[in-house]
Symmetry: C2
Subunit: 198 residues, 2 copies
DNA sequence: CGTTGAGTTCAACAGCTGATGAGTTTCGCC
DNA sequence: GGCGAAACTCATCAGCTGTTGAACTCAACG
């Protein structure tokens, strides 16, 4: 079987070029406002080719988000050190991720989740199943308390990302990362290990 | 002078109906995604009438935001009690505002600021000139430290609003307000009066 | 009465959107 | 060389967008 003849070239990076352009566009304008025509334009490609590769705008978005985001790799290092000082380590790692290439995917996800329903669901599921679940496995937090502690941390960290990378409110937008770690780390620490209201 | 003849009826509330529909639409979909046609539709009015009253979509947005938001009224009560327990009072008042009619304007502003540049500028200026300035006047915070303290508070509070009213992550989305006050109040308190990193 | 002008509607413009399907080029294999 | 298939382009569709200008309705005034 497997009669495979015909053109099978190295697919010389145009697919990756489209994904890069898509990530940049989604990060800058959000899912709804980013247009396939503009993405194809900066990738130097015909708009129809985007559909040829990815089928629909939704699937293009999913493909652009899936590749660079991988909490399974970075989270264990944060959790391995135990509960002591985990707040500061979490904030430091969090800030690092947003300044990396994966950061544009994050901005895209965040921007899109605000104006588009199904991307918001995507963000929620990412937070709950990809992040909170792993924390629960590694750290011994009371499973009954984990959702509240986790979403409290989410309010602080998503708010930090919003102000620093989306709304760009100074001086947080261009503050030294370590200053933010020192200021916000204790907050996260308290949300994770401190007392909880009844 | 003042030759005013012709029809001068009571302007029977259609203008307010348009504003209400606009606030709801902007809150639910954001500035870009909300359409004048849809707004006119739920207001039971022809789309052209919206332009007749407000001129452009931008001006309609401004008109819809201006009426219900007034930090000059609620902030003094929060600040009057002095620095003791101001964190909890701020969070309590903040949550109250978002659950009031003014909350939909807030959601609209927040949603829009993420995907639209000039509404983001609007939100930034609202935070800095309407909120932080008044805090500076009433509380004796070192003016040099106020911007950083203020924007740290903004990360926490905007993050709270995002999670509770936009992304709707549970259990924060439907948590008892007083539980959130108890959990987040100390954070705000520390950002405002606690030590600051160099 | 008739004029006036605000309230309101109709029809249409140009521009953009995601998507489709047929057509063309270009390569790898037999 | 020539066949097959992947990479890629062109033209086009229907639908939506904000905005415009002319037209119509109708209550109040002189």
């Amino acid at each position: 079987m497997a009669r495979r003849t015909g053109r099978r070239p190295g697919n010389q990076g145009t697919r990756e070029a489209i994904l890069d352009a898509a990530r940049a566009a989604f990060a800058e304008r959000g899912f709804d406002a980013a247009s396939i025509r503009a993405i194809a334009g900066t990738a130097g490609v015909d708009p129809a080719l985007v559909h040829h590769y990815f089928g629909s705008k939704d699937q293009l978005f999913l493909a652009a988000m899936n590749s660079p985001v991988d909490p399974g790799e970075v989270l264990p290092k944060v959790l391995a050190g135990g509960a002591d000082g985990i707040g500061e380590r979490l904030v430091r790692t969090f800030l690092g991720v947003w300044d990396s290439p994966a950061g544009s995917a994050g901005v895209a996800l965040l921007r899109s989740a605000v104006s588009n329903d199904w991307t918001a669901r995507l963000l929620r599921e990412f937070i709950t199943t990809q992040v909170l679940r792993r924390v629960l496995d590694q750290l011994d937090v009371d499973p009954a308390e984990l959702p509240l502690r986790g979403s409290l941390i989410a309010t602080q960290l998503i708010g930090l990302a919003m102000m620093r990378h989306v709304v760009r409110l100074e001086p947080v937008a261009s503050a030294d990362p370590e200053a933010l770690v020192a200021a916000i780390g204790p907050t996260v620490q308290r949300y994770l290990t401190g007392p909880l209201p009844t």
